[in-house]
Amino acid sequence: MSVSPPDAAAGPSRGRRAASPVRLLAGAVGTVLAASFVIFSSLSVAPGDPVSQILGQKATDAQRAAMRTQLGLDDPLLVRYWHWLTGVVHGDFGTSLTYRQSVSGLLGPRILTTLALVVMSAVIILLVGVALGAFGGTSQRWRPVVNGVVGFGVAIPGFVAASVLISIFAVKLGWFPTYGAGSGFVDRIWHLTLPAVALSLGWTAYVAQMTAAAVKEEASREHVMTATGRGLPRQLVFRRHIMRNASIPVLTASGLTVAGLVAGSVVIESAFAVDGIGSLLIKSVSNKDYSVVTAISLLIVIVFVLVTTVIDFAQAALDPRLRDGGKV
């Protein structure tokens, strides 16, 4: 699973298209369904035998066969997928083989932890990234400094940042705990600060870069000259004619970033021993606990689809040209 930000220079290139709400929603549901089938079928052919995991190596062939039938493993793929899907619709993701517990019960509290981590990171990314980018995009003099900081942020992988942060702020200075997610609101924020910083570093740099590029491009538009030539105050030109227009690409980049955070949390949660979705995924993969892996993968897909759908709606809300059936 990729955890690094996409190549910033390439940027997200989203074609203009008509944003009819019905079509957007239908597309989103269709994508999730298709993805769920791909996930389910690819994990059903993955190596590892759930039967021997449950019964151990010493079970007889008869016992094995009985267990296979009980788990429905001998049914055709489509039948198994259907069973699983109807279960998912009713909130039943199956049972974890390692934890001997329902998958939904396993995910519930961990989703909250990961959500807290992702939200904290997203806040850092948006505040710092957009501010840094807007600054670097407007101020000629500070542009190299901002570029330097951004390059630094892009270059450092999340797990390196994590170990550096732990060794300085947790071990040396002792300001923050080294592991765990904490309990209660304040304690949780305290526990999740370092992980959130480590998780947001690369993405902050990416969003800053995108914002700087968008601001610089929008500032050079002719209609900005019109606004300046009308004697509008500088801050108004910046707000109304530069930032407002730049917010469309910035929003797109930030949205994809937030979706990517869920995937990125896998590495960071393990590094900080935070008991969230990400670390559960890694454990479940190594335990070949496929019902958990399937559920988490589906969850990540749903977050991605949700975020891109929200971006599509937001773009249409910001850009009148997209509301008119996409003609420009």
Binding site: E222, H223, T226, G229, R230, G231, P233, N245, P320, D324
Partner: protein
């Protein structure tokens, strides 16, 4: 008295940092001298790249960062180049308005026409939003837009180029300015609506007795709508005088060549093209900027840059203006 002039530009010179990013600068305007009086329409004519747009940008102080400007640029006797930030904002928002060539590129696609029209006067505290909306509606009717209220709620991409340029005209008139700078206001439009939009603009200017600096490369159009003509070549004004005289009796070889090379609506004949290619200001040698393409050029023309001087009731920058006068007329009437 020159200080009473609405707009007076004297020996304006503009150097821009070259776009390639190297340190050297390029001269884009060598020597521009012209003036606009109250209620006067002045045409600024020249080929592409001669520096017409740069002249208007310098007048609005909208040149790109790093531009070096010298010479005089005064509005009602006040030096525009020395304006403080506050004075500049007042000048741009109340005294002078600019109409651009490409209305689509020059309007923010995310704002409604109504917001676009009123934002200038509202943000600079000249009118309440309600008053501004009323005035915008009235002006839209003046420029021939019938369903003004509906148009105000639309976005630029929903309007045709001609209609959008009329919105630009309204935008320019909103603060009741004294001077309008119109930079090729019809060039980017569909040919079928060009004359209509031009007529609307000319009518509004005349009705309000506004001063106008009208940029075009169309000599016929300029002669038709302006009182005074200034002809520009490679960043230099080469001839300036009353429009009908300059148009019928050019005294500079470049003006004469422009007149000869334009397509005629009545006669179908081979066009005479001006020999050589137009040069940019930074390519000009020490002598007359037109010397390389001028059939009358002498050694003096190539060595010494001629200054504008009075010849036959107008200003001409040509060493040989008197000698070649008859030849210039001949070529035209033939």
């Amino acid at each position: 008295m020159t200080s009473d002039r609405l707009l007076s530009i004297e020996g304006l010179r503009v150097d821009l940092p070259s776009r390639s990013g190297s340190r050297e600068r390029r001269t884009v305007i060598h020597d521009v001298t012209l003036s606009v009086d109250d209620g006067e329409s002045v045409g600024l004519v020249g080929e592409s790249g001669s520096g017409k747009s740069m002249t208007t940008k310098a007048t609005m102080r909208l040149l790109p960062p790093g531009a070096k400007v010298s010479g005089g640029l005064t509005f009602r006797g006040e030096s525009v180049l020395d304006y403080s930030r506050k004075e500049l904002a007042a000048y741009r928002s109340r005294k002078v308005s600019m109409i651009y060539q490409d209305p689509r590129a020059h309007t923010n696609p995310l704002l409604t026409i109504g917001d676009f029209l009123v934002e200038g006067v509202v943000a600079t505290g000249q009118m309440s939003r309600a008053d501004a909306l009323d005035q915008a509606c009235a002006l839209l009717v003046d420029v021939g837009v019938t369903d003004a209220e509906r148009r105000m709620l639309q976005y630029p991409h929903q309007l045709s180029g001609g209609l959008l340029q009329r919105m630009m005209i309204v935008m320019a008139l909103m603060p009741s300015p004294e001077l309008i700078l119109a930079d090729e206001p019809t060039t980017a439009l569909d040919v079928t609506v060009q004359s209509e939009v031009m007529a609307i603009l000319a009518e509004q200017i005349r009705e309000r007795s506004l001063g106008m600096l009208f940029i075009t490369h169309d000599l016929d159009l300029a002669a038709a709508v302006t009182d005074t003509l200034a002809v520009m070549y490679a960043g230099v004004i080469v001839e300036r005088g009353p429009s009908d005289e300059v148009y019928s009796k050019p005294r500079h070889p470049y003006t004469a060549a422009l007149l000869k090379s334009r397509p005629s609506a009545v006669k179908v004949e081979r066009l005479e093209t001006i020999p050589g290619r137009p040069i940019s200001a930074y390519e000009a040698g020490p002598g007359c900027v037109f010397a390389a393409r001028c059939p009358f050029a002498t050694e003096e023309c190539r060595e010494v840059r001629p200054a504008l001087r009075q010849v036959g009731g107008r200003s001409v920058a040509c060493h040989r203006a008197e000698d070649i006068a008859s030849e210039l007329f001949e070529g035209l009437s033939a």
